[in-house]
Symmetry: C2
């Protein structure tokens, strides 16, 4: 069963969780002076509108009409009740998911790519530079740039560039230009941290170019709150009150923030972050100031981190291979308002295949992390005989990740 909000009923404002965080957010620090960064420090990279959103304490931020015009190509996204999965698990829990895979780029990423492209265009910028790991973010930004007539340059982690030619082609269909990163070391497989350095270097060296980041920052999580805001309304149409638990996979934190932040003020709602056990930032990292990139060009962020030089193993959920977490997510976990759990990828792909064979659709490996946790929560509810309401973000489809499924089905996947 699906609940569609009527077109024209997507949210008109983003929800800003910052004034409602359990502990005040600590400021980002300048990498040289270690003083709090100000607008002037960020203006070579971002337009003023986004810098303002990064620090605003307004509870709501209006979504510009031109952004709504694009988002409504696929929003509101459906809320789906996973009844076939419920029956397969024999659980009394009711499982709902917000289907973000229906966007043109196939994930939640365009929710922020579109406003970022819009505000940059409005500020007279004609070209955006960014990094991408598995390719979800790069393709979202290439899509958004195509619709606003901006050039898009994507630095793609070399290992992915070589292993995932389809993601590159997708960006090129939308007119993006894609190069493998690190650009100065053709022998390195690269990492998200080093690709960020390449993109920032590009942006600061050209007047016409800004930088665009697909996760971690406050304004990115702000833009993603359309997911949770719509879900809240749709759950009400489905006859539910608040969910008992909200679950999202967490790399940098944008997907998780999108589904969960609108529920932060609802004290009874359990919030759960799911990460890979091979890159366990929230479950095994430490909370401290750290750089967002390898070359230490970015501000220092207050976050859970494994260290900016952490080189994650080459797991298939490329979108979850980041050494840190969004400061907002870190704040919530540190204060105990959000829990975190980690899974090895073998158990994650088992969940993914069971989902595909019951609900029909093939999830992204990142999304399958959330699905693994959903199944375990649903089975716990069965043991306890509780009619829990579980909400999760189906953050993307796995149609460009079928190589990983191939490895899993034929016993070639490292299960850790």
């Amino acid at each position: 069963m699906r609940w569609n909000l009527p077109p024209g009923q997507m949210p008109e404002a983003w929800f800003n969780v910052v004034p409602q965080l359990p502990e005040p957010l600590q400021p980002d620090l300048h990498p040289g002076t270690r003083e709090p960064v100000g607008p002037d420090d960020l203006s070579p990279l971002f337009p003023m509108a986004l810098i303002g959103q990064e620090v605003t304490s307004e509870p709501w931020v209006d979504i510009p009409g031109e952004v709504i015009d694009v988002l409504r190509l696929w929003r509101p996204t459906p809320l789906v009740r996973a009844q076939r999965l419920e029956r397969a698990l024999g659980t009394p829990a009711r499982i709902y998911y917000k289907d973000e895979s229906v966007s043109p780029a196939g994930s939640h990423k365009p929710n922020t790519a579109v406003p970022q492209a819009f505000y940059n265009k409005q500020a007279g910028i004609t070209r955006l530079a960014t990094e991408t790991g598995a390719g979800q973010w790069g393709s979202a930004l290439a899509f958004a740039c195509a619709l606003f007539g901006l050039e898009c340059k994507v630095y793609m982690v070399r290992a992915s560039y070589n292993q995932k030619p389809y993601r590159r082609v997708m960006m090129e269909v939308w007119g993006g230009s894609v190069v493998p990163s690190p650009v100065d070391d053709p022998d390195s497989p690269g990492s998200l941290g080093s690709a960020i350095s390449d993109a920032v270097r590009d942006a600061v060296s050209r007047e016409d170019t800004h930088y665009s980041l697909g996760s971690v920052l406050n304004h990115v999580l702000l833009h993603q709150t359309v997911i949770g805001l719509e879900a809240k309304e749709q759950l009400a149409s489905a006859g539910e009150r608040l969910p008992d638990i909200v679950i999202g996979s967490c790399g940098g934190g944008s997907n998780l923030g999108g589904i969960s932040l609108p529920f932060v003020p609802d004290a009874g709602v359990d919030l759960l972050a799911v990460e890979p056990s091979s890159c366990p930032t929230l479950t095994e990292g430490t909370f401290r100031y750290d750089f967002a990139d390898v070359a230490k060009m970015t501000p220092l962020l207050p976050m859970y981190t494994l260290g900016h030089e952490f080189m994650p193993p080459s797991i298939h959920a490329g979108g979850l291979r980041y050494h840190g977490d969004a400061p907002i997510i870190s704040d919530l976990v540190k204060a105990g308002r959000m829990r975190a759990v980690a899974y090895p990828q073998g158990k994650v792909f088992e969940a993914a295949v069971q989902f595909a064979r019951t609900q029909g659709t093939i999830p992204a490996p990142e999304t399958a992390h959330a699905i693994r946790a959903v199944m375990d929560e649903a089975l716990a509810a069965k043991q306890a005989g509780e009619e829990k309401v579980i909400l999760f973000s189906y953050s993307g489809h796995g149609l460009l990740d079928l190589g990983a499924y191939d490895d899993f089905l034929h016993g070639r996947l490292d299960r850790d």
Copy 2:
């Protein structure tokens, strides 16, 4: 702008065009006796429910509840107005498309895979055999079999099997078993006609197994009419009356039939079939009895054909590489109720990229044939200053066809 029918408002019956065809449909003939085939001839291949649907003259056929239960995982599909494309073309035409790419398998094919799996299961069959060219049909049937607990064996045209490993993996995720065809000649690249022979041979040799076909037959087109039926209602919600023209790409004819057959009784509605100029069955074939497969195991069908031994060039729109057309479509074209046009693939991919850069989504190469014709009709409307209403079927996404886009963008695609 999108129009969603509320969930729970998908059609409850399929529309049978046969009693309303301009000329009575000629019977299929037994390949040996050349007499009209009867139910006994077909019963080794199909369950009686489908054989009945193949020959029924009832105007409507009820959709079983268990079929509706699965179809509603993604149906009703959205009707979308392509306003960005309209603006890019500067046309006064209003362009609407029915988005069939939202199904789990990414195309319209599950609309018939699901009822075929259901009726076979109901008849006590535990295993289905089929063929697939590019992989759209095979993945749809593997998906449907997963949901009904049937085994699925897919004979995949060897050239596609080697070039499109992701399609094979997709079928395997749903539990399907996939082998390259022809099975008895590992050096042959194969064709749809020879893969049909392999699948039919499998089905007739096992008691537990039936055969399943993804296009051409009357019952397949019947199942696809949900597309056009929903579109008609959604156009009304959008404030339109009947469309001036309905456009669909045509391989075997199931997608085209799905969007267009419900409009056959509406005399003023222009119906347009679009095919590749390298496999021009309707525009250059002849109407006569011919076999559906290379090995001449199937009944003889009254249809436009290029000859059952026609070996189509290896164009990227694999779903359109079939030597014949559905008898229902052939009847409509022969009687002048439907027009046909053919395009070379260079012009088709130009349209596909323009669509992706305006509307955002990347269409399947098959779908892009329809889009090419839509653009040309919209430009003709601009020249004539006419406010035409154009409806087409967005039959599938191109996310597993990005290799073809890569060839096109880098000048490696044969433009013919």
